[in-house]
């Protein structure tokens, strides 16, 4: 009874994650796909919390749900609801299916057979809050990556602005698509 509930929780989260991800992959409407991604991300966050990684889980929600997903929706809305019902949405659809079947067939036994140097669930210590440890790690062992990551974010910010605004310069009828 005690072990059942956590296991059920895991299966519930895994179901939500994989179901919504599959919906993302196969949905006709891209907006539905995007919103379905919300459940994937949220389920993953729950799974992280379940794994005792509270900070990663909440970061997942903040950044993926609050940031990236909104950006994706922006992307969808700015590029228009272009794909019509009649239009082909995918290429190589069956090749893709074959690919994931093949890869899955190759990977699953590999995963299961591999001698992972891990402890079994029974031996695991109680999950503690990770936040202060992560804070310490970020400020000590991972200080350089941390700073580089901040630099990377700055570069991404500037780069994105430059790329997205690049077209406004050729407003004088020179850009090929306006003349064509």
């Amino acid at each position: 009874m005690d072990a059942l509930l956590p296991s059920l929780l895991f299966y519930a989260f895994a179901g939500v994650i994989l179901g919504s991800a599959a919906f993302t992959a196969f949905a006709r409407d891209i907006v539905h796909a995007a919103f379905s991604l919300l459940f994937t991300f949220f389920g993953l966050a729950c799974l992280y919390l379940y794994l005792g990684a509270d900070f990663v889980g909440l970061s997942q929600v903040v950044i993926y749900v609050g940031g990236i997903l909104v950006l994706l929706l922006f992307g969808v809305m700015f590029t228009g609801h272009q794909t019509q019902e009649t239009e082909k949405r995918t290429v190589n659809f069956y090749w893709g299916l074959a690919l994931i079947a093949l890869l899955g067939a190759g990977m699953v036994p590999a995963l299961l057979k591999a001698p992972w140097a891990v402890k079994s669930a029974a031996e695991l210590p109680e999950a503690k809050s990770t936040i202060s440890s992560i804070a310490t790690l970020l400020m000590t062992d991972y200080l350089l990556p941390f700073e580089i990551a901040s630099l990377l974010l700055l570069m991404a910010l500037i780069g994105a602005v430059v790329i997205a605004r690049g077209e406004t310069k050729t407003d004088e009828g020179e850009s090929p698509e306006t003349s064509a």
């Binding site: 190589n92 090749w95 690919l99 093949l102 190759g106 036994p109």
Partner: protein, 674 residues
């Protein structure tokens, strides 16, 4: 850092900085930046005077030495250092170089006014000043050689300043190449010294010489080789030919380089190395005779020249000969003293001649005359310079020349066979007085021989006359009255050198007026006054009141006159014999080249051609065939794979992923199949 060290750095840095600034941005500055150069050199002069004041006045001692050296680099077993070596001689030389450089800079503002490349001229002057200061300040042979060459380069640049003028271009090349002959000898000398002693710094070398690490014939050869450098730079016979031609450069350059400083570098070098030179009596004798020959022959040539600057050039050579002779007979202080006084009055004379040329627009004395009234200041100052060089009492030249005469007389009295030296100098002194007053009479007295240029003649601007006045004052004061030689004698001889000089005196003569016996001193003095008076009188007779016709006299002794007028055909000798010999060797080598080397090359050509034909065929059929086959295969493969390359990145990912998946699956399941 010691004060002197800082001052030395500044003295060196300022002209170099002025050079750099002028080269870089001089053309764009107001007044072409001459104020920068003048400011820099003036500050350098101030620092030179500070050094002088500190060394000679505040901390005077006969053996004052300040030395500092810095590591530079090391090659093999020799550590190359460079540094400053300041003693009384250095302090004196610094003042001489600084004063003359500064005055020439100021003078050039007037003289070079409106010239093209005005800023470049100042840049070169700055480079020259830097090089000269470095030469004076440096403490080892290696740096000396570098400074020596830098001086040569800047002299080359300055002589060739009017490089569009053919004669100037030739003159600068001639000067550079001729001095180079001397420099090669000097380099050999340095190499010999380093080879035997392993040292570069003056002091270490002197110590090594004193300890006999190098002696006898080898030392003599090394010294003579080193002296070869002085022969080149100080225009001694037989390498004096470049100096008259160098007068193609602007007159301030002549004053700076070819009268006061650069040509004195050889004398300074010999003076600096005197403790070593004095170790070899044979070498000293060589030096003395070369100086004598130079002094005498140059004086005879100067009598017949008509170009005002050439007269001064030969006069310079002659006076340098005096200095060298003085060094050779062991009158070390007298030589250096004459170097100083000569620097002042010869610079004065050159600048005066520049002023005259500036006014008369010609260098030919026959075109001049009667300029006394037009240019009073120039006349007065030039007269002072002439009196000084002629050895008239109470002028600076008297004291120094007298000291040299005394030294030579003493030497002669010790070694009767070498009395020739004294007699030669004595006669040359008379000739000096004669040709210098010839110059004065032809230029400033009598009637004008070219009315047009006479009418346009005028006194030079203040920037030119002020340096003249200053130099005139120095030309008088530099003699310190009658007894300058005595004073100078005490000033610049450190005891260490005194010993060396005494050592020289043991086999040579007594070495200076002060230490000479009274009869020698007063005898020499009386004789030199006498010959000076005689020379002036003769000159007055011939060119002043014209009781004797110069032309008739010349015609009467025509062969001698021609010999003198044509400078003893030394240039022609070089042209005919030396250069012809070089050209002949060139022809021989060319023939060897053409017949033997080209023959071999020509022989190889057919061989190569045969080989090439064969290898060409091989290339064409075998190599190309293989390649073409490969290309065909690649093309076939490409036409298949181009179908994969459809430009859609997703299909690439798909193909790559499928490939990876296949490999994975094969890897996973192969164990079951095997």
């Amino acid at each position: 850092m010691h004060l002197l060290e800082i001052l030395s750095w500044l003295i060196l840095a300022l002209p170099l900085a002025a050079f750099a600034v002028q080269m870089a941005v001089g053309a764009r500055l107001p007044r072409y930046g001459d104020f920068i150069s003048i400011g820099a050199i003036s500050l350098s002069l101030v620092f030179c005077l500070l050094v002088f004041f500190r060394v000679i006045v505040l901390e005077y001692s006969p053996d004052y030495v300040f030395a500092v050296s810095y590591p530079w680099f090391s090659g093999g077993s020799i550590e190359f250092r460079w540094g400053f070596y300041i003693d009384n001689v250095t302090a004196f030389m610094l003042v001489v170089v600084g004063v003359v450089s500064t005055l020439v800079h100021i003078y050039s503002v007037g003289y070079m006014h409106g010239e093209e490349n005005y800023h470049r001229f100042f840049a070169y002057l700055g480079l020259f000043s830097f090089s000269m200061f470095l030469l004076v300040l440096c403490d080892n042979l290696f740096t000396l050689y570098i400074a020596w060459e830098l001086v040569g380069v800047s002299s080359y640049l300055l002589i060739g300043f009017y490089y569009t003028k053919h004669s100037a271009a030739n003159a600068c090349i001639k000067a550079f190449l001729t001095t180079r002959v001397g420099d090669v000898f000097m380099f050999l000398g340095i190499l010999l010294l380093v080879l035997y002693t392993g040292q570069l710094a003056y002091h270490d070398v002197f110590n090594a010489v004193a300890h006999g690490e190098i002696s006898g014939t080898v030392l003599t050869i090394a010294i003579v080789c080193l002296f070869g450098g002085a022969v080149g730079k100080s225009a001694q016979f037989p390498l004096h030919v470049w100096l008259p031609d160098a007068m193609e450069g602007p007159t301030p350059v002549s004053a700076l380089i070819h009268a006061a400083t650069m040509v004195a570098a050889g004398v300074y070098m010999v003076g600096r190395m005197f403790p070593m030179f004095s170790q070899s009596a044979e070498a000293m004798l060589v030096i003395a005779y070369i100086g004598l020959i130079t002094a005498f022959f140059a004086a005879t040539i100067a009598i017949t020249q008509n170009d005002i600057k050439r007269v001064l050039a030969y006069s310079t050579i002659s006076q340098l000969g005096y200095m060298v002779t003085a060094l050779g007979v062991g009158a070390y202080t007298a030589g250096l003293y004459h170097l100083m006084t000569h620097a002042f009055f010869k610079a004065l004379l050159f600048l005066c001649s520049g002023s005259v040329i500036h006014a008369a627009h010609t260098q030919d004395m026959r075109e001049m005359g009667g300029l006394r009234k037009k240019m009073p200041i120039t006349f007065a100052t030039m007269l002072i310079g002439t009196l000084a060089i002629a050895g008239v009492p109470f002028f600076s030249g008297f004291g120094s020349k007298d000291a040299i005469m005394a030294g030579a007389l003493a030497f002669g009295s010790e070694h009767g066979a070498h009395m020739t030296i004294f007699i030669g100098l004595f006669v040359a002194a008379g000739m000096t007085a004669f040709y210098m007053f010839r110059l004065i009479f032809m230029t400033f007295y009598g009637e004008s021989r070219n009315q047009h240029s006479y009418d346009h003649a005028h006194e030079s601007p203040a920037s030119m006359t002020v340096p003249l006045l200053i130099l005139a004052v120095l030309s008088i004061a530099g003699g310190f009255g009658l007894y300058g030689g005595l004073w100078f004698n005490h000033l610049v001889v450190p005891p260490a050198l005194q010993e060396a000089a005494h050592a020289a005196a043991e086999h040579g003569g007594e070495h200076g007026g002060a230490h000479g016996e009274a009869w020698i001193h007063y005898g020499a003095m009386g004789l030199s006054i006498f010959v000076a008076a005689l020379g002036i009188f003769l000159s007055w007779v011939v060119y002043g009141v014209k009781w004797i016709s110069a032309e008739k006299t010349a015609a009467a002794i025509r062969p001698i006159y021609q010999l003198s007028f044509n400078k003893y055909y030394v240039d022609e000798f070089y042209q005919k014999i030396v250069i012809a010999f070089v050209l002949w060797i060139r022809k021989v080598l060319a023939a060897f080249d053409r017949i033997v080397i080209d023959g071999i090359v020509n022989l190889t050509a057919p061989l190569m051609r045969g080989g090439a034909t064969f290898s060409g065929g091989f290339d064409h059929y075998v190599v190309d065939g293989v390649l073409n086959l490969g290309a065909l295969i690649v093309q076939a493969a490409g036409s298949v794979s181009v179908m994969l390359q459809n430009g859609v990145i997703q299909s690439y990912i798909l193909k790559a992923a499928i490939a990876a998946a296949v490999i994975l699956v094969v890897h996973q399941y192969i164990q079951f199949w095997l």
